[in-house]
């Protein structure tokens, strides 16, 4: 239901993504792993055209877009199929938690205010922030802000939610609450792509793992396989390094 074919992206002369092919099933949680600078963020941002790919094709649900000739309409359609959770939350600072969640429903999906409000309250409740609906982002902790970010994405009822390192800007003691929320929505069968450095979480929550290096997909497969018996040397090296780092921080 999500299909990427021949996606490439360069910044000037620097090739960041070289011919990415990817296919994900509905209801699947995909984790994207890889060293820093391997192009994970760029790939995610190409899917909703926050970065314009140079070439390739993206199909999400019933929308297929050829990246080369993509116009405003195509981009808008694609964005309506996706929602994004950002590393630094990027909440609308002048709006309350509830208004943040409502914004897309009212402005883009043209829901009635009352319906949008009801739906948004439901979403805030889902991420455990029903009592914070009137708080401004500046009055919330990082973990709470990120949960609002997740509610904002879920409210849109997208085909796929894109997460870019949702916990890496958080204080260590706040990481757990956000991962817990993501885990609970994963159980509801919402399609997600998660870029993360949390190996244990990726292993635990995903159905599919993609390992990237140097702008290409090196290896992909179910988590048991990729973590248990990686085929590629680069994957092995990376996982070894990550688990070492992980045990140091304990």
């Amino acid at each position: 239901m999500i299909q990427v074919r021949g996606l490439t992206k360069s910044y000037g002369k620097q090739k960041v993504l070289g011919h990415i092919d990817l296919q994900l099933q509905k209801g699947e949680v995909t984790a994207i792993l890889g060293p820093s600078g391997s192009g994970k963020t760029t790939l995610l941002r190409c899917l909703n055209f926050l970065e314009k790919p140079n070439a390739g094709e993206i199909a999400i649900g019933d929308v297929t877009v050829n990246c080369k000739g993509a116009g405003k309409r195509d981009i808008h359609k694609l964005r309506q199929k996706t929602a994004m959770v950002f590393q630094n939350y990027h909440l609308f600072k002048h709006k309350t938690a509830l208004e943040n969640v409502m914004e897309g429903l009212v402005v883009v999906q043209k829901l009635l205010k009352a319906d949008a409000r009801a739906r948004s309250q439901l979403m805030l409740d889902k991420v455990g922030l029903a009592d914070k609906q009137d708080a401004y982002p500046s009055q919330l902790s990082g973990g709470q802000q990120q949960r609002v970010g997740i509610a904002r994405a879920l409210a849109l009822n997208p085909e796929v939610v894109l997460f870019d390192e949702p916990t890496s800007a958080l204080d260590p003691e706040r990481v757990g609450e956000v991962l817990e929320v993501i885990r609970s929505i994963a159980r509801e069968g919402i399609t997600m792509i998660i870029v993360t450095h949390e190996m244990a979480f990726a292993r635990d929550v995903s159905n599919h793992v993609v390992f990237m290096d140097d702008g290409a997909i090196v290896e992909e497969g179910p988590p048991q396989e990729l973590f248990g018996s990686p085929k590629e040397e680069r994957t092995r090296q990376f996982l070894k390094r990550m688990t070492q780092e992980w045990s140091y921080t304990i």
């Binding site: 808008h76 964005r79 950002f86 609308f92 600072k93 897309g104 982002p137 904002r152």
Partner: protein, 236 residues
């Protein structure tokens, strides 16, 4: 020069001058409105990096920020009609007030465009991306996310501009416009109590400046409710 200082004249002058306050405020209001339109138009090419036009904007801003407003008044009042004669447009019957408003509008437009630019850059790019990610158009992202925050950020600068503009309008008497300062000249000449006139005039300008300052501070607090730090700073 003039007669002996006599404070009672101040009581006499203030109401007389206040009779012309409306003209002063009219100039301020019209020129600030005009300035906002011009300021927006001038800021846009630089915000969106439109080739050629952003150069024109920069030159415009440099000129109006870099020359005395008195000279700008003279240039527009005496120069513009000459220029318009070239295209056979006769503006000799247009009142001086219109030239005053035009000059102050053009002048504050330059300053307002800079305030807009600074304020828009203060809203982080990430929020715009978040707006795009939920499916908003560029227009909606600007109007619903960037503009309200930029407006709040620019309010202190805008407040300074309005108060500066209020004081600058006192120069329009040089073109013979009968606003408060113009009236003070005639009152001074008639009574020969110049010091009292200028004292009265300062008191009025001061009172209005202070009132405007309060008003903007209130507006700012309302618009920046989402930033608790603003209130904290103010209370210190």
């Amino acid at each position: 020069m003039g007669r002996r200082f006599d404070i009672t004249f101040v009581y006499d002058f203030i109401p007389k001058l206040l009779g012309f306050l409306q003209i002063t405020l009219f100039i301020v209001a019209c020129s600030m409105l005009l300035g906002m339109v011009i300021g927006t138009a001038v800021a846009l090419p630089r915000l969106f990096r439109i080739p050629v036009l952003q150069r024109v904007s920069r030159i415009y801003v440099s000129f109006f920020r870099g020359t005395p407003i008195l000279i700008q008044l003279f240039l527009i009042y005496f120069g513009l009609p000459e220029l318009l004669k070239g295209i056979h447009l006769d503006v000799t019957r247009v009142p001086a007030l219109a030239f005053v408003i035009l000059t102050y509008g053009l002048n504050s437009g330059a300053f307002i465009s800079e305030a807009i630019r600074a304020a828009v850059s203060a809203v982080d790019r990430g929020q715009v991306e978040a707006a795009y990610a939920v499916g908003m158009s560029g227009f909606h992202a600007f109007r619903r996310i960037v503009l309200p925050q930029a407006a709040a950020v620019s309010l202190p600068a805008f407040s300074n501009l309005v108060i500066g503009n209020l004081k600058d309008t006192s120069l329009s008497f040089t073109l013979g416009v009968m606003e408060m300062t113009g009236k003070s000249q005639t009152l001074g000449l008639a009574t020969q109590h110049f010091i009292e006139v200028y004292l009265s005039l300062s008191l009025i300008y001061l009172a209005i400046s202070l009132a405007l300052e309060r008003l903007f501070a209130l507006a700012e607090r309302r618009m920046r409710l989402h930033e608790p730090d603003v209130g904290v700073l103010r209370n210190q």
